[in-house]
């Protein structure tokens, strides 16, 4: 009996059980390439923190070199040139990753936590809860994000963590609506009905069978997209002068300080951080969309 079972199992594995094929074998190569590029961008965060702790910078990011201002790439060993105070742009770019990463993580965390709680409540309970959550989501959606942030800056102080909390709050309605539609879809499925009839507690059904087994892909995708938005907001605010302040490098204030020399023909000091922003946001977008194609399409099959 046991031998028979074993043979049967091997047979299904090799021939017909499509669900046993690893997920990266089923994915479209273009999606895989997008995800790999996105992961490479995420890896840069680790590079930044590692070199920040061990001092692995080619030059000191804060060292001023007044005889080498706005230098082009590859002069005197400066891989990406120097900025308007002669500081090494490459080292500052690496250090600038830290300016967006932790605040961005806060924004993503708030968006995911708030969004999944509201989405679960309104999808699972429905009725009045749903109406209340929809009203709150529409209310948050009524504010343009940057205008709401400027309101917060006027009311409190231009602190990057307050700003990022607002970014998380304004990203939450997107997460809420996605989780809600997913929960409404899942509630009609047989396995949830089975779980209910088996007498499982509501919180176990919600936490394990809905959130963990069926919404984690969606949450990961939303996290990458939220990170992209957080970077965009952080760089925009640093450009406007409300974000990270000058001695500390952030990509936004690097663009801003380089822009003063732009019309004099020194393109490079603001173009290098701008390209870094471009490729990083592109990476997070591609990571999110690639993961979406790989993980979410599968369930529709």
């Amino acid at each position: 009996m046991s031998i028979k079972m074993k043979v049967f199992r091997q047979h299904t594995l090799r021939v017909s059980d499509y669900s046993q094929v690893p997920i990266w074998r089923k994915a479209h190569p273009v999606d895989l390439a997008c995800v790999c590029y996105g992961l490479a961008v995420v890896m840069m965060v680790i590079v930044s923190y590692a070199s920040g702790m061990n001092g692995w910078f080619p030059f000191d990011p804060q060292a001023i070199q007044m005889d080498l201002l706005n230098a082009l790439p590859n002069t005197e060993g400066h891989l990406l040139g120097t900025d308007f105070m002669g500081r090494d742009i490459f080292s500052r770019l690496i250090l600038g990753i830290q300016a967006y990463f932790l605040p961005g993580l806060l924004a993503v965390g708030i968006a995911l936590a708030l969004g999944s709680i509201c989405g679960l409540v309104s999808g699972y309970r429905g009725g009045r809860w749903d109406a209340a959550v929809t009203y709150a989501a529409n209310l948050v959606d009524s504010f343009p994000r940057l205008v709401l942030i400027l309101l917060m800056i006027a009311a409190f102080k231009p602190d990057i963590y307050i700003i990022m909390a607002v970014v998380g709050l304004t990203h939450a309605p997107t997460v809420t609506s996605m989780i809600k539609s997913k929960v409404i879809f899942l509630k009609q499925q047989n396995f949830i009905e089975a779980a209910v009839s088996l007498g499982l507690k509501n919180r176990i059904i919600i936490a394990k069978h809905i959130l963990w087994y069926n919404c984690r892909a969606l949450l990961i995708i939303q996290a990458t997209l939220g990170m992209a938005e957080a970077i965009l907001i952080e760089t925009s605010l640093s450009y406007l002068g409300f974000g990270v302040q000058e001695p500390m490098p952030s990509w936004g204030n690097m663009v801003q300080s380089g822009a003063n020399y732009f019309l004099q023909g020194h393109f490079w000091p603001s173009t290098a951080p701008a390209l870094a922003i471009l490729f990083t946001i592109l990476g997070f977008h591609l990571l999110g969309d690639g993961l979406n194609n790989i993980l979410e399409r599968k369930q529709g099959r």
């Binding site: 009524s142 343009p144 309101l151 231009p158």
Partner: protein, 312 residues
Amino acid sequence: MKFSSIKPIAGTLIREIFAALLLLVGVSVVVFAVLSFAPGNPFSSILAAPGAGAPAITGKIWQYLTWLGHLLRGDLGHSTRSGLPVFDEVIRTSLYTLYLTIGAMAISLCMAVPVAIFTARRGMASATGWAMTILTYVFSALPAFWFGYIVIYAAIHRFGFFPLAVGGSTADWNWFYFFLPVLVLGFCSCGLSEMVRYLREELVRVLSQDYIRTARAKGVSVWKHAFKEGFLLPVTEIVAAKVPFILGGAVVVEQVFNWPGMGRLAWQAAQDRDFPLIMGITLMAALFVRLGSLLKQVVHIVVNPRASHRSE
């Protein structure tokens, strides 16, 4: 058209308008609450006198109601910095921002719609489709402040397509001169890749439905049948969804181009802690967003009256 046929539409419309008004009241409550719980006020930096202590919560509610009453009469107080009436300032600058917003929306739609239709019909496999899709991704990741400088350098400084500064009197203004900020905002701040993705998916979904197949089999125009569901509804949906993004992006673009709009005023107000001004701007921006959303609902109801029957 008999009244009985437009009655459900009218009912739904009235309900939508009521919901929008309710949301605007909520917006005013949030704006008021944020600023009334703020530490200090714009005058605390001018008058170094110790604060009289926060009034009780009933005092706050009374204060809110008074403020709302003034608001409904078009009185938003005076800017603490310039002393000008906020209402007039906001109306004046919002016209510039409205021009910027509508232009940017038009430009981004002009770019997104052809790409979406092309990739929906030919599939993603062709080289042109890929190139266009990648381009939309690059544009949606492009930082507007840097792209703005590039455009200024190329179009004004280097080649002189546009004058660097326009004269002070409105007589020698040419609306064509204002094309550059609109262009930058339309390219950068709308999330072009998201727009293309949404429009394409909706179009593909509709084109694969049974009634389109029937239309194709009968030999009538597929486009005519797919237009409402596959094009008009998604476009209005995306336009309404992108209004807040464009208004937010306008803050940055107006800063780059020194555009005398609402976003630049908001930036100034945030720097000066000019409470009345930032309140007025936030309310106006929320009004724009709600109007865009209302427009979407109207198109939704008119195109698909069944939806209003179903919800009743």
